[in-house]
Symmetry: C2
Subunit: 146 residues, 2 copies
């Protein structure tokens, strides 16, 4: 399944916790069309006042929720919940069933990264990313002081 993509990209974010909401705010600022799905309404309180996207209060594990979010029209699906299994399951549904061109899953447990790579789901692991950044800050200072 191949789709034409335009500047009016349509992005679905699953999970409106710290990461999901921050990403939604960033993308909204960049004038992307964003829909955020979360089971708890209060999570949407993290969205900025000028967030221009839509919110859906429902469980994204349910196909009905994904259909309501128009997953068949999505250019990008990002799963950011606190649960690795939820993230990867929804990522797989988005990719395999609905042929979403770009699917990225947040990954909690770094040791599982390779398994997900085998499923050909792109993952981003905040822990690995942050550890590398911390290390760079420490090592950078060293170089600067030589």
């Amino acid at each position: 399944m191949k789709r034409n993509r335009s500047k009016d990209e349509y992005i679905i974010i699953v999970g409106c916790g710290r990461l999901g909401s921050h990403l939604a705010n960033l993308l909204s600022k960049s004038r992307k069309s964003v829909v955020v799905i979360d089971k708890e309404e209060k999570s949407f309180g993290r969205l900025s006042e000028d967030f221009s996207g839509f919110t859906i209060e429902a469980d994204a594990i349910e196909i009905d929720t994904l259909l309501q979010a128009k997953i068949d029209k999505a250019d990008v699906v990002v799963t950011t919940t606190n649960d690795d299994n939820t993230n990867i399951m929804i990522a797989q549904i988005a990719k395999s069933i609905y042929g979403v061109p770009k699917v990225i899953a947040r990954l909690f447990e770094p040791s599982r990264q390779k398994v997900y790579e085998e499923l050909e789901i792109e993952t981003l692991c905040p822990t690995v990313l942050s550890a590398i950044e911390f290390k760079n800050i420490i090592v950078e200072q060293e170089v600067g002081e030589k």
Copy 2:
């Protein structure tokens, strides 16, 4: 308080969760001297088999623990626990009382970043970092497809 720093840098990591342990493993691989402090012994199970540093099972909020970790000799202190207040309190002790040259605190709640900047404690927020990285992945693909 100014100290000479050598390649044999001495780094204290507070918290041996996913982030703390991953960072400890990275720094140990880079042949840094590392001490990791955590309240729970089982947390040290996350350290790799070839981790060459030391571990201290104790509460880093206690001054005795920090003294046991030789905080007065540390070149770098990184606080990585799951609690913002704990991270910032230990970071302040390291900086103000023991004059540790480089202190970095993990920050959970992005909205608090500015407050901590006023305290002149360097912070790293995995949420902000990850959201930017997710956004870059999404935007990068767009550019590639133009």
